[in-house]
Amino acid sequence: MIKYLARRLGLAALVVAGVVVLTFFIARVIPGDPAASWVGPHATAAQIAAVRTELGLDKPLVVQIFDYFGGILSGNWGVSIHTHQAVLSDIALRLPASLELVVTALVIAVVVGVPLGVISAYRKGRLSDQALRTLAVFGVSMPVFWLALILQMVFFQQLHLLPVAGEYDPELQYSSPLMSYTGFTPIDALFTGNWPVLGSSISHLILPAFAVAAYPIGVVMRMVRASILEVSGDAHIQMVRALGFSERSVFGRFALRLAWSPIIQVLALVFAYALVNTFLVESIFNWPGIGSYAAAAITSLDTPAIMGITLLVAVVYVLANLLVDLLQAALDPRIRLK
């Protein structure tokens, strides 16, 4: 187990280091002159030269890569062009709001997607299965930015049901100000007993979370259906059938239990994808997370900020995968012996 752990950790570190090199390559090598784009179009030659020295662009490429690595390791992820703040602190400030959105979306995906996937497998080939499969394909084919706009159109413009801007009603800042401890608005509101903010933040969360959840719901439904059908031919499932359990509990209890491991694996992947989809959703809902930060960075061609976010998502993704692999290795001896 320790040998397996060491190998997995080593590979994960290698991959993250590779992503650092990749972001360095994108940010410093592809654009013709990063110094010129740093100071803007109206800079003089002297200013560009000064910036070049300041950014270390006059050193050889290998030295630059090592400097960049050193900076990343010591927490210096560069300075954002559009906020003029350190990228890492910008990200840290905005990450909780995005995690709140993504975790809610994944909870929705599991709560909605798993039962629908089980029903789809149980009714395989029937009309209800066809309908559910079509629904799942709708989920993975949905342009999320468009869904976000349509949700606003229907639930805010037409029905006046749900709010669409920000994390909670800004007027509540004066009537019941929120003390920030964790950075997660609903959690802070819950623990400080700030009920108006809690209610407001939940109603603000619903629409953007559903927009982000569309893709995960589709993926989870498909994965659950496929993996249940795969294990339903297994000997122990036949055994459960022979023991006289109803078909419903064969699928809903026994087959589902065996199907959890691929579902968890796909959730790790979907987590990273959902985080990227916040780029397309957050600015539409004025949500103060890394998604709207990234969208603003893209509009102002803020390369350091975008590379920082790319690195962050890669780290999150590698860690999520590592966690899943280790969990599975701990549960299944066949994996760690490979």
Binding site: L11, L14, V15, V16, G18, V19, V21, L22, T23, I26, A27, I30, P31, Q130, R133, T134, V137, F138, V140, S141, M142, P143, V144, F145, W146, L149, I150, Q152, M153, Q157, V219, R222, M223, A226, V266, L269, A272, Y273, L275, V276, N277, F279, L280, I284, A295, I298, T299, L301, T303, I306, M307, I309, T310, V313, A314, Y317, V318
Partner: protein
């Protein structure tokens, strides 16, 4: 005499043709029956066909072909859907239906180009890694690990930011993010094919290594790539639309669907049609290609599932 023969000859009164169960129609007949059992695939295939026809015949089917390029009509801006403009007009008075039809020539074409370029990069690298193994394999696979650690949309976005905004950049950016999937697929397949007896025999006969690789290993390793490519088409259309929605793809007069949604954002509260129709075009096209891909996947290769 098979049941099939009896059915085909019913009412003809002639002698049944012996053993014609394997006649020229049987493959087509099997395909028709398979489609009837897979209505989702048939539906997807039908829509894809309609999309392709509209894309090819755009100059004849679009009511206002000029509106897909530089034309503007300052006195007809934001007209609601009507008999003249079925999908309404946009913020500079262009017919949205015409622009949606011409849009077929952007995102789906980008998707096809991305798949082609990913195959051109990914298949040879995967083949090298799988066939030769050893250090080559290790190096190529670790490189794909790095690319696969960043979701394709984000990696494409990072590249698109440093490239000048255009449909070509979108294509290059997504292509760079996409090839590692194909390299991995081919590598796995080539690795198992390489151990088979006929490859071994070809090498014992003294055929040059590259010839064995391209003539004997390659043709037996590409099926999963065909399946994966058909599954990916819808996803690439979405990725391309997302990039252009963020302003990193095609620029203004180009009738790109993602860009049209982006430009309609400011009006959607009062002029819903500007955003709705281009978005529907993205959804329906991606949906149709995904249904088609699922069908091809089931037909060619029910075992291998790469989901993302």
């Amino acid at each position: 005499m098979s049941r099939l023969n009896r059915v085909t000859n019913a009412g003809q009164g002639s002698e049944p043709r012996g053993g014609s169960a394997f006649g020229p129609t049987s493959a087509g007949r099997r395909a028709v029956r398979w489609m009837r059992e897979n209505p989702l695939f048939a539906f997807g295939a039908a829509i894809v066909m309609i999309v392709v026809i509209f894309g090819v015949l755009a100059p004849f089917l679009a009511p206002f072909p000029d509106d897909a390029s530089t034309a503007t009509h300052p006195f007809e801006t934001l007209v609601a859907p009507s008999a003249e403009h079925l999908f309404g007009t946009d913020q500079v008075g262009r017919d949205i239906l015409s622009r949606v039809i011409y849009g077929i020539r952007i995102s789906p074409v980008i998707a096809a180009a991305v798949i082609a370029s990913s195959c051109i990069i990914g298949i040879p690298l995967g083949l090298l890694a799988g066939h030769f193994g050893g250090v080559i394999d290790e190096v190529i696979m670790r490189i794909t690990d790095i690319f696969l650690a960043v979701p394709a949309l984000l990696l494409a976005l990072a590249f698109a930011v440093v490239l000048p905004p255009s449909p070509y950049s979108t294509m290059i950016a997504i292509g760079i993010a996409w090839w590692p999937w194909y390299a991995r697929l081919v590598r796995g397949e080539a690795k198992s094919v390489t151990t088979r007896r006929y490859v071994e025999n070809a090498r014992i006969l003294g055929l040059p290594r590259w010839r064995v690789m391209f003539r004997h290993v390659l043709p037996n390793s590409v099926t999963p790539v065909i399946v994966q490519a058909s599954l990916d088409f819808g996803g690439i259309i979405l990725t391309a639309a997302s990039l252009s929605f963020l302003g990193l793809g095609a620029q203004d007069p180009t009738p790109d669907w993602g860009l049209m949604v982006n430009q309609g954002q400011g009006y959607f509260a009062t002029q819903w049609w500007v955003v709705t129709f281009p978005g529907l075009a993205i959804l329906i096209t991606a949906l149709a290609f995904n249904l088609l891909g699922d069908g091809i996947h089931e037909r060619l290769d029910p075992r291998r599932v790469v989901s993302r």
